[in-house]
Every structure is written in structure tokens, then in C-alpha cells.
């Protein structure tokens, strides 16, 4: 049993580019769900629109990536507007179902063969981020310590994505403590009371949806850059549920919750998975868990269990304030 490899894999996942992308997604959810109380189950849809916005501009239209990135962000914002206009007046559970349905519609439409000329259909779009890697300042070698190593390209994506995550954490913290953030929380806690004080509840929720949606779009843009491609199959609802687990773990409606949640979530998940893989090689695992498919599935069983147990026993997460996030029924 090589413990350094096991914990090294955990550490690499916790600080790697994928974790940084999930941190962006969790920040997006923190605005929508944490501060505004909107149970958006279609957050992966914003990611999809961001990623495909970039990919279509670069791979299909042949334009520059620097046009593609704002287009991706803008598309996510427009999606938030279109989604919010009719649904924000609905009850929370209806809103949740509508958002997950919209995300599924987007995934099925982008991967459909009828749009192969635009989105690449089931094959997706490739080579969407050459411009990003061509300005990589890291010289060509491995970076890291011990077993945690990153190639120079990974290093570049990681640095940019974490920098964006930190920047947005700061901006969202400023927003949350501004009068706008206070009004938003008031709307979340008691919409009628906020309205009776002259606050336009729907407008506040819409603003939160658009701001959060654009951050989700940024997560999608970075995902497309990270994988240098866009493929609709990457944007399944499971991504949304991961992001919720991360946010609730770290503490919804807290400043650092998304970052802390991301690091703990990915470290734990990858350490467990790496441990199981080693145990599998040593022949320690019971028969039903053997094979890589079962190990991957088992870690997802743990995610599901963690999500359910957290909500029951510690809905405020690790650092959250229990009084802050009293969810509406």
C-alpha cells in the first residue's frame, strides 16, 4: 500500500484544474442557492452554454478564442434571463424541476445529430483552446512536489482558474455584504416581508440568477479550455449534484464555503478512490467491489450518502451558520 500515492492523488485532485472549475461552479451556486435561496438544479446547463459558446465560436465559426470567451459568458447570462423570466414566480420545487428540465433539454439538443454542423453532435467540438495554451508562461517541464506533479499546461489552466475562483470569491463576498446582498438575503428569508418594505423580490432573484449563471458560464468556459473540447456528455445532472454537495459541505451562504467545500470534497473523494484502487490491486476488496467501474460507482454512492447525511445532521455545512441558511419549505 503506497500511502504517499494515495494522499498524493487526493492532494492533486484537491488543487487540480477540475477542482478549480468545481469551485467556480460552487460559487455560482452560492449566489443562486446560498444567498438567493433559488434551488437551481440546472446549473450544469449554464456550464454547457458557456463551454459551447466558446467552442462554437472557435471550432465552428473559426473566430478567435478571445471573442469566444465573452460570447460564452454572455450566452450563460442570456440563458439565466430566459430561464428566470417565466419561472421565478413559480414555487421553489417547480422552479427546481423546470431548471433541471432545461439543463437536460440543452444537453440533448447539443448532442443531437441534427445539430452536428453546429455543435459536433455526439462527437462534440475539439481544439477550442489553442490560443490559451499558446500564451502559456510556464516553461515545458513538470511542476509540483513529491508525487503531486502537473504538466506545464495543467499548471497554466490551474493557475488561471484558481485565480478566477479567488477573485470571484472576493467579489461575491463584497456583493453579499453590500446593501444588495442584504436585500437578497431578506428576500430569501421572507419574500413577503421584503416586498412589504418595497423591495422588488423577483428583480433581486433575477439579478442573482444572472450573476450566478454567468459565473456558471465561466466554469463552463474554463472546462472547455481545460479539456480543449466541448462534449455534451460531460454536462450531465450529476455535475449539478456534485456542486450542491460541495456547497453544502463547505457551507451555503458563507464567503469561503465554496472554496473550502471544493478542496475537502475532492481531497476526500480522490483519496478514497485511490485507496480503493490500491486495495483492489492488492486483492483486499470484497468481490462485488472489484473492477474500476465498481470503484467509481462506490465513490458516487458515498457522495449521495454524504449529501443526504449533511442535509439531515449539518445543513449549515462545516463552517456555516445554522441560522443563516434556514431553507424555506
Amino acid at each position: 500500500m503506497q500511502w504517499d500515492v494515495i494522499f498524493g492523488n487526493g492532494a492533486r485532485a484537491a488543487i487540480g484544474p477540475d477542482a478549480a472549475i468545481y469551485a467556480l461552479l460552487a460559487i455560482s451556486l452560492n449566489v443562486q442557492y446560498g444567498y438567493a435561496g433559488l434551488l437551481n438544479l440546472g446549473v450544469v446547463g449554464f456550464m454547457l452554454v458557456g463551454a459551447y459558446g466558446l467552442a462554437i465560436i472557435v471550432a465552428t465559426a473559426g473566430l478567435s478564442m478571445w471573442i469566444g470567451i465573452p460570447v460564452g459568458l454572455l450566452a450563460a447570462g442570456v440563458l439565466a434571463l430566459l430561464m428566470g423570466l417565466p419561472t421565478l414566480r413559480l414555487r421553489a420545487d417547480y422552479f427546481a424541476i423546470t431548471t433541471i428540465a432545461v439543463a437536460e433539454i440543452l444537453r440533448l439538443v447539443t448532442r443531437s445529430r441534427s445539430l452536428e454542423g453546429l455543435t459536433g453532435g455526439p462527437f462534440g467540438l475539439q481544439q477550442v483552446a489553442d490560443a490559451f495554451y499558446s500564451i502559456n508562461p510556464f516553461p515545458d517541464r513538470e511542476y509540483g512536489f513529491g508525487v503531486v506533479q502537473f504538466s506545464e499546461q495543467r499548471m497554466w489552466v490551474m493557475t488561471v482558474t484558481w485565480a478566477l475562483a479567488l477573485l470571484l470569491t472576493g467579489l461575491v463576498a463584497l456583493l453579499a455584504s453590500s446593501p444588495w446582498g442584504r436585500a437578497l438575503r431578506a428576500v430569501r428569508e421572507d419574500e413577503d416581508a421584503a416586498r412589504s418594505l418595497g423591495k422588488n423580490a423577483v428583480a433581486f432573484k433575477m439579478q442573482a440568477l444572472v450573476v450566478g449563471g454567468m459565473i456558471g458560464g465561466l466554469a463552463g468556459v474554463m472546462f472547455a479550455i481545460r479539456s480543449t473540447s466541448a462534449n455534451a456528455e460531460s454536462f450531465r445532472s450529476d455535475v449539478t449534484f456534485f456542486a450542491y454537495t460541495i456547497l453544502i459541505l463547505g457551507g451555503a451562504a458563507t464567503k469561503l464555503g465554496p472554496l473550502v467545500g471544493t478542496i475537502i470534497f475532492w481531497f476526500t473523494l480522490s483519496t478514497i478512490e485511490s485507496f480503493l484502487r490500491q486495495a483492489n490491486r492488492e486483492g483486499w476488496l470484497p468481490g462485488f467491489l472489484e473492477g474500476s467501474e465498481s470503484i467509481g460507482a462506490f465513490t458516487l454512492v458515498l457522495v449521495g450518502l454524504a449529501l443526504a447525511l449533511l442535509i439531515v445532521f449539518r445543513p449549515q455545512g462545516i463552517f456555516g451558520n445554522r441560522n443563516e441558511i434556514r431553507l424555506q419549505t
Binding site: 492533486r12 485532485a13 487540480g16 468545481y22 434551488l39 452554454v49 462554437i56 471550432a59 465552428t60 465559426a61 473559426g62 430566459l82 423570466l85 419561472t87 413559480l90 414555487r91 420545487d93 417547480y94 427546481a96 424541476i97 423546470t98 428540465a101 432545461v102 437536460e104 433539454i105 440533448l108 448532442r111 443531437s112 445529430r113 441534427s114 445539430l115 453546429l118 455526439p122 462534440g124 475539439q126 504538466s151 495543467r154 480543449t228 456528455e233 460531460s234 450531465r236 455535475v239 449534484f241 484502487r277 462485488f288 467491489l289 474500476s292 467501474e293 465498481s294 467509481g296 460507482a297 458516487l300 454512492v301 457522495v303 449521495g304 454524504a306 449529501l307 443526504a308 442535509i311 439531515v312
Partner: protein
């Protein structure tokens, strides 16, 4: 107000269309550069562990569509890829789009074999002797291998014939959705809980029946199905007694319970994946039947039995709700739990019966779906949004609403395939769900109250 809602719905549609500008097709460049270590720890957490048609970057692959035209895709056809010297690389099945792909270790010569047994009834290879093809894979570009099916120049069915056939398929599919969705609606009606794990009850029933029918004791499907429905009913009771009743006693909010069911769904789905595996299987009975021609519609005896059986089950449920004591109690609790409790109805017991019945019906729906298509670990979660669509279209909380909604969803999805690709048929059902929420959130049979 309704007028404004309708206008915003139109806006939504128009906007969605505007999101996809017509742009020039720059061509498929195939794979790009691999820019990272693909660590064995599987750091792409969002990737499904099961085989998908996703092409990992920088890896050579062989892919194809069935049929080659891409029109009316065929799902579940199996292809095996070997190296030129006969070493097996891997195999894949076509997905809903009729697309399959196998990742190969690198450029070179490969042999692709189609398994003609996996073609659906009535579809044969144009050249039945050509089940193998040679292909050379080049760097960074998926190689395509196609096998022609069908007679050259056969009769195309007329529009009316297709309409009749798709309507029949829609009724069949709709009845299955309706059956699975009744429980979802009744559980919401009696406890206010939106059960995201309901799809997993569907899968569980189908998988247990498959185990009893094709693996373990190898019982006949009727017996295996009956026992699977009972076991799933028991699982429903366990969930209610072990999870949801204690949570209600703890005064956990409905909103939180909703998130808990999401966790439960993830947990159950992947536990099923561990047990059942990522492959699709069929039941041992009632496969490969010849179709009967009933006027313009052709249907296998199995599917006809499913349609008739589903109608009988749904009528039985309706009768139970109308005539029996427990059925009336269910409707009363759905209507107003506090008032029912005050008038002496044992609400906890009614909720327990609803869970048992709902889980059992979900299992039955799963078994019928498994018999019509195939059993796999995601069948229920794929059905979940269609069940939501059915329940919301018909009116949340009423059993009859779920039945009507299920039929509508089934018909809309199947009839839409006359005009659009079958991979988009679910989009129509989901779009119907979104539109229904905007125009009439209380559903067709729901009462008008403030739910907006």
C-alpha cells in the same frame, strides 16, 4: 397575468432558437492534443464510470452509426473491435442516436465485427454475409465503419401509417410512464415530498426482476416480475419507515427532504450499478417475437399484452381510489392531511400504503419498460424527468392526473419522431413540461390554487 406568462413563454422559445446562430461548418478535425496526464485516479469526477460514446482527447477511435443514413437510429446494436491479428480491443453498443464508438490504442489496422443478433426484429443486414469490416485508423481522427441494413428500395410507409404506428407506440410508452408516475404523484399528494429517487425504484424493480428471471432462480418473467414488485414495495415501505417518517418527525423541511432524495437517488443508482454492472440486458422470456398486423399497426404479442395489462392495472387503481376505504382515505389525505387526521384517518398508515403501492407500481413500470427495451442501471433516472412531466402536466398530487399526463407524454414523444430525430423526442416531453408550468402550473386535472 396568464397573458404575460404566455408571452414570456414565447420569448423563451424564441430566445432558445436565437442562441443557435446559423454558422459555417468548419469541419471535424478529430482529436486534438492531449495536454495532461490522465491519472489513474480518474480526476474527471463528472465522467460516468459506464461506457459512453465520448471520445477522450488524443486517442484514436473507431466509430459508426446504425443505420448509416442516421435516419431512425437503432439502439443497442453490438460491435466488437479486434486488432488485425485477432486480439479483442473492446466492444460497444449503439446509443439512442445509433452512434457507437470504441477507443483503440493507436493508429493501425483493425477489424470490426457487427453482431447481427443484436439488430431489432425486422431489420437485417443488406448483405447478411458481411458481418466484418477492415479499417485503418489514422492519428487524431475517428475512423468510421458503416454496415448497410435493410432492403434496397423497400416501400416507405405513408404518413398515416407512421402516425398510426407511432400512436400505438406512444400509448404503450405512455401507459408505462403513467404507471410509474402514479406513485410519484400520490407520494407528493400525501406528504408534499418530491421524490427524486423515484426513478431508482423503477430501475430497482426491473433489475430485481432481471436477476430472478435471467440469473438467479431463472423464474418465468411473470413470477419474477410479481416477486420483484413485492420486493420493491417492501423497499418503499423501508424508505418511508426508515428515512422519511423519522425525518418528518424531526420536522425537516420539505425543501431539505427534496435535496435528501437527490442524495438517495445518487446512492441507489450507483449501488445498482455496482451490483448490476454498466451493461444492458434483456429478460430471458418474450424476446424476438413476430409482429402481428392489426390494421395499420403492427405490434408484438408481448407489447399488446403490456398495453392491455397496463390498462387493467390503471383501471384497478382508479377503482381502488374511488371505491375502497383505503383509496378514499388516500384521496382525503392528498386533499387535506390535517382535516383527514382530525376526522380519524390514520395518516401515517395511509402514507405507508401509498409508498408501498407507489414503489410497487414504479417497479412494474420498470419491468414492462425492461421487457420492451432492455434493462440498464440508468433506465429509471432517464425516465424520471418524463415522470415529472407526466405528473405536472396532469396535475401534481392526483393519481388520475399522472395517468392522463403519462399518456400525453408518451404520445408526444413517440409522435414527434415522425418529424424529428428520435434522440430529440425527450426534448419535446420536457418542453411540454416547461410550457405546462408556464401556462397552467396546476396541471390539466389540478385545481386552481396559488402555486405560483
Amino acid at each position: 397575468m396568464p397573458r404575460r406568462r404566455r408571452i414570456s413563454a414565447l420569448l423563451l422559445l424564441a430566445g432558445a432558437m436565437a442562441l443557435w446562430p446559423a454558422a459555417a461548418y468548419a469541419g471535424d478535425d478529430g482529436g486534438g492534443t492531449d495536454n495532461g496526464e490522465n491519472g489513474e485516479n480518474g480526476e474527471n469526477g463528472e465522467e460516468e464510470p459506464a461506457p459512453t460514446t465520448t471520445l477522450p482527447m488524443g486517442v484514436a477511435a473507431i466509430t459508426g452509426t446504425m443505420p448509416p443514413s442516421g435516419v431512425d437510429p437503432i439502439e443497442g446494436v453490438e460491435f466488437t473491435v479486434e486488432t488485425a491479428d485477432g486480439q479483442e480491443i473492446g466492444s460497444a453498443e449503439t446509443d439512442v442516436d445509433g452512434v457507437w464508438s470504441v477507443v483503440v490504442p493507436g493508429p493501425g489496422a483493425y477489424r470490426v465485427e457487427i453482431d447481427p443478433e443484436t439488430l431489432p426484429d425486422g431489420v437485417d443486414l443488406t448483405d447478411p454475409d458481411r458481418t466484418e469490416a477492415q479499417v485503418t485508423v489514422f492519428e487524431g481522427r475517428p475512423a468510421r465503419v458503416l454496415f448497410a441494413v435493410g432492403d434496397i428500395g423497400g416501400d416507405r410507409p405513408t404518413f398515416l401509417e407512421r402516425l398510426a404506428q407511432n400512436t400505438a407506440n406512444g400509448v404503450k410508452f405512455g401507459l408505462i410512464i403513467a404507471m410509474a408516475a402514479v406513485g410519484l404523484s400520490l407520494i407528493f399528494g400525501t406528504t408534499g415530498l418530491i421524490n427524486f429517487a423515484h426513478g431508482e425504484l423503477v430501475t430497482f424493480g426491473a433489475v430485481v426482476a432481471w436477476f430472478l428471471n435471467a440469473r438467479g432462480p431463472q423464474w418465468q418473467l411473470f413470477l419474477a416480475g410479481f416477486v420483484a414488485v413485492m420486493i420493491t414495495g417492501l423497499l418503499g415501505a423501508t424508505l418511508e419507515r426508515g428515512v422519511f417518517r423519522p425525518l418528518r418527525a424531526r420536522q425537516v423541511g420539505l425543501f431539505q427532504m427534496f435535496v435528501i432524495t437527490i442524495g438517495l437517488a445518487l446512492l441507489m443508482r450507483h449501488a445498482i450499478l455496482i451490483w448490476y454492472g454498466g451493461l444492458r440486458h434483456s429478460y430471458a422470456d418474450y424476446q424476438g417475437q413476430t409482429r402481428w398486423d392489426l390494421g395499420p399497426v403492427s405490434i408484438t404479442p408481448r407489447d399488446l399484452t403490456i398495453v392491455c395489462g397496463s390498462i387493467i392495472v390503471l383501471v384497478a387503481i382508479a377503482t381502488m381510489l374511488q371505491r375502497t376505504r383505503i383509496g378514499k382515505a388516500m384521496r382525503a389525505v392528498s386533499d387535506n392531511p390535517e382535516l383527514s387526521e382530525a376526522s380519524g384517518i390514520d395518516v401515517q398508515r395511509v402514507v405507508l400504503v401509498v409508498w408501498v403501492m407507489g414503489a410497487g407500481l414504479a417497479a412494474l413500470g420498470g419491468i414492462l419498460l425492461g421487457a420492451v427495451v432492455a434493462v440498464d442501471w440508468q433506465m429509471g433516472s432517464r425516465l424520471l424527468l418524463l415522470m415529472f412531466a407526466a405528473v405536472i402536466l396532469g396535475g401534481l398530487g392526483t393519481a388520475y392526473g399522472a395517468m392522463v399526463g403519462g399518456l400525453i407524454v408518451g404520445l408526444v414523444t413517440e409522435i414527434s419522431t415522425i418529424w424529428v430525430s428520435p434522440s430529440l423526442k425527450i426534448v419535446f416531453a420536457l418542453a411540454a413540461l416547461v410550457l405546462a408550468l408556464l401556462v397552467r402550473p396546476q396541471g390539466i386535472l389540478g385545481r386552481k390554487e396559488r402555486i405560483g
